[in-house]
């Protein structure tokens, strides 16, 4: 398979990488090792670690950081930016619609059962229109590249996409370690993200809020693998980090316990999944949530970001209809393409996929984090046969996609630099405006030949540059 190399084109260095190329070529090996050790020490001191569920081992394991940045030129980014914003608008329009009149279902453009029987569809919020009609306020859109101008959306994350702290820290650490690189290259900043996030949250304050809105970040607690990110974002936004027990409902509002007494809370950026938000509305046994929260939310006393029920838009089965959403709601052609997807509950698709397993990538419909997936070309016959049995047992739990020729960028390895496959997750903010900081989080599959970039599967991260004009 041919892979698009983002730095080299037939032995020539592409323009955006010109200065980086010199930097790498003139870097002594011992200097590189020293810097890599320094980067690791910085990450550990800051405290960014990533616990992987179910893997055991060191819960404070670092996500490997690769010092070689990934670079986009301005024109490339502008097109991506337009495509991402377009998709974000369509996803929110879809959410507004399926919790309202469901025009897209009535028009027969998406099967009703796919929406209403979806586990993430919350009947408790049908008819609720959140402030500014926004259900998903932070949308992480996972993109891969297969050619100069060929980008595909792998999946949308409309609930609480994580990883943005890595985007910010990667930049911070690169600037600290290699200030000269930031003088030689004109790189668009990303450090305005926390300010934009806070503005976004404030812009969706509930109708009953008259003053400057009080925002909080709601975390399940320090046992959560993304706890670091929760505290990091709260800190940078200058808002409180709270757990469920720090908040309570009294009358028509939600309050936070403070040393100066109860303080009303207007906007909750929650990093807790829907079923745990409120034991009086969802799982009665949840200890993480706030009893009565959903009644306050549904009567306009508090905003929840993302809104309960937003997950129905990022399901892998719904994903196949996002281009249709763009056409239906916006009357535009999608700027970013989906990956062709076979849905295994359709008979024809099932037949095709079962005959072509060694070529395809198969994923669980509700899975995430790179768990429970098969990468056909990278699997042994035994692995494929075992997976085939899993599919046969429950076909509707799977979708399949062609194995994409993910682009590579140079990455530091033992012997110097070598191409490794990457993806990109930009974080789109939706409030009164739709905002996007240039770049996003680049994840890199550090194992040679691997196409799985998830940190749980041996992936690392890189700083992502968008060059100014």
């Amino acid at each position: 398979m041919e892979y698009y190399d983002e730095m080299y084109s037939g032995g020539q260095v592409r323009e955006p990488y010109a200065r980086l190329s010199e930097w790498v070529d003139t870097m002594p090996a011992d200097f590189r090792q020293m810097k890599q050790a320094e980067a690791e020490a910085l990450f550990r001191r800051i405290g960014i670690t990533f616990a992987v569920y179910g893997e055991g081992g060191d819960p404070d394991r670092l996500i490997p950081f690769d010092m070689m940045p990934r670079v986009f030129e301005q024109a490339e980014w502008r097109r991506l930016e337009r495509g991402i914003k377009q998709r974000a608008r369509a996803l929110n329009a879809f959410l507004r619609d399926v919790y309202g009149r469901a025009e897209i279902v009535r028009a027969g453009r998406i099967p009703a059962r796919l929406v209403y029987q979806n586990e993430a569809y919350e009947k408790a919020v049908v008819g609720v229109v959140p402030p500014r009609g926004v259900y998903s306020h932070i949308i992480g859109i996972d993109l891969v590249r297969t050619g100069k101008d060929e980008f595909f959306v792998l999946e949308d994350n409309c609930r609480t996409p994580s990883g943005v702290s890595y985007m910010l820290e990667n930049r911070e650490i690169m600037m600290r370690m290699f200030p000269q690189l930031f003088r030689q290259n004109r790189i668009e900043p990303v450090d305005q993200y926390p300010e934009l996030l806070r503005r976004t949250l404030e812009s969706v304050a509930p109708p009953k809020c008259s003053d400057r809105p009080t925002c909080v970040v709601l975390t399940p607690g320090h046992f959560n693998s993304a706890y670091y990110e929760h505290s990091f974002l709260a800190n940078l936004m200058g808002v409180e980090l709270v757990e469920g027990q720090d908040l309570f409902v009294d009358g028509e509002f939600v309050y936070m316990r403070t040393t100066q007494g109860p303080k009303r809370v207007d906007v909750i950026y929650r990093r807790i999944d829907d079923p745990y938000l409120d034991p009086l509305c969802f799982r009665p046994d949840s200890m993480l949530g706030i009893p009565g929260l959903m009644d306050v939310y549904r009567s306009g006393g508090v905003s929840i970001c993302s809104a309960p029920g937003a997950g129905v838009a990022d399901d892998k089965a719904i994903y196949t209809f996002v281009p249709e959403m763009v056409r239906f709601y916006l009357g535009e052609e999608p700027i970013l393409n989906n990956v062709h997807t076979w849905t295994l509950w359709k008979q024809d698709d099932y037949k095709y996929v079962m005959e072509h397993l060694p070529e395809l990538v198969v994923k669980e419909v509700h899975g995430s984090g790179g768990y429970g997936m098969l990468v056909g070309p990278k699997s042994t016959k035994e692995e494929i046969d075992a997976f085939r049995k899993k599919i046969e047992a429950n076909p509707s739990n799977y979708i399949a996609q062609p194995t994409l020729a993910l682009s590579t960028t140079p990455t530091f390895v033992e012997e110097g630099i070598a191409p490794r496959h990457v993806d990109l997750r930009p974080y789109c903010l939706c409030g009164d405006r739709i905002e996007l900081v240039p770049g996003g989080l680049t994840r890199v599959a550090l194992r040679e030949g691997s196409l799985v970039v998830n940190s749980s599967q041996g992936g690392g991260v890189k700083d992502t540059w968008v060059l100014s004009e």
Binding site: A124, L280, D295
Partner: protein, 280 residues
């Protein structure tokens, strides 16, 4: 029929608790079969929070009670005028697509027994017939017997026991209806019934099954009938917990004791009784 409802739920705690938050689905539905003449909800020491009509058409009210206290009573007094709509929930305004009620919860999850029960009813050209037959099959399979099941009992467990109360009948009927691809939901409400002239347990539950071209229709498998003018409908959900008239959480330690008293009386009969008493 004019029904008078008095419903009191008293929570007693052996240690004073800090506060209580409740979400009440305790207001009669609005549809052709019933008209609310008067309805009062009171929670001792409570602050009335947000009230709103949800997508299912239910009126929801949040209440909070600031502690410390050892006892909280939720009291309902009201009068409702009802009429028989042959079980059909006509004129009820709601927004949720019936297909959302094809999803299972733990209480209604199918097992071998429920699948067999669902399959025991032969195919019907008419889904209304099918729903009636399924309801009859559940009535046959589960005998009404209080005290053998509890609030956590699932449909599968109740069917295995072959005994249960209205909650169990309802869960089982929902499970078999969904297995036959009919959307089904749990309805909580009141029932005016007498056994040998004495008022009968009046807090009640039944199932609603959605039949295309008709809409939602109530089926009371425990009483082998469809709801009529003796029934007062409060609200619905995916199972008993989702449709519970009172969902609440108390902050504090110690045990909770619960006393519930419900009376649903026929106002006309009460009046004629009191008249006859004055006459005699």
């Amino acid at each position: 029929m004019k029904l008078r409802v008095t419903h009191q739920t008293v929570y007693r705690y052996d240690h004073p608790i800090r506060n209580i938050v409740q979400s009440l689905r305790l207001t009669p539905s609005v549809f052709e079969g019933q008209k609310t003449l008067e309805w009062n909800i009171e929670v001792t020491g409570g602050i009335r929070g947000p009230g709103f009509r949800d997508g299912a058409g239910d009126w929801i009210e949040g209440w909070t009670v600031r502690g410390p206290m050892e006892e909280v009573a939720v009291s309902i007094t009201g009068r409702v005028e009802t009429r028989d709509t042959a079980g059909v929930l006509r004129g009820h305004r709601e927004m949720i697509n019936p297909l959302a009620y094809l999803r299972d919860s733990d209480a209604t999850k199918a097992d071998k027994g429920l699948r067999a029960l669902a399959a025991s009813v032969s195919d019907h050209a008419d889904n209304l017939d099918l729903a009636h037959k399924l309801s009859a099959a559940v009535s046959e399979a589960i005998a009404y017997e209080p005290g053998v099941t509890e609030s956590q009992t699932t449909a599968a467990e109740a069917l295995k026991l072959g005994k249960g109360v209205c909650q169990d009948h309802t869960h089982a009927l929902m499970a078999v209806a969904r297995l036959r691809d009919l959307p089904a939901r749990y309805v909580s409400g009141y029932l005016h019934a007498t056994v040998d002239g004495e008022p009968h347990e009046a807090a009640h539950a039944w199932a609603e099954i959605h039949v295309e071209n008709i809409g939602w229709i109530g089926f009371d498998a425990a009483n082998r009938c469809c709801p009529d003018e003796r029934y007062v409908r409060l609200g619905s959900g995916l199972d008993a917990s989702d449709a519970a008239p009172i969902r609440g959480i108390a902050a504090g330690q110690g045990d909770e004791r619960l006393d519930v008293a419900v009376r649903v009386e026929d106002i006309d009969k009460l009046q004629s009784q009191s008249q006859s008493q004055t006459q005699s």
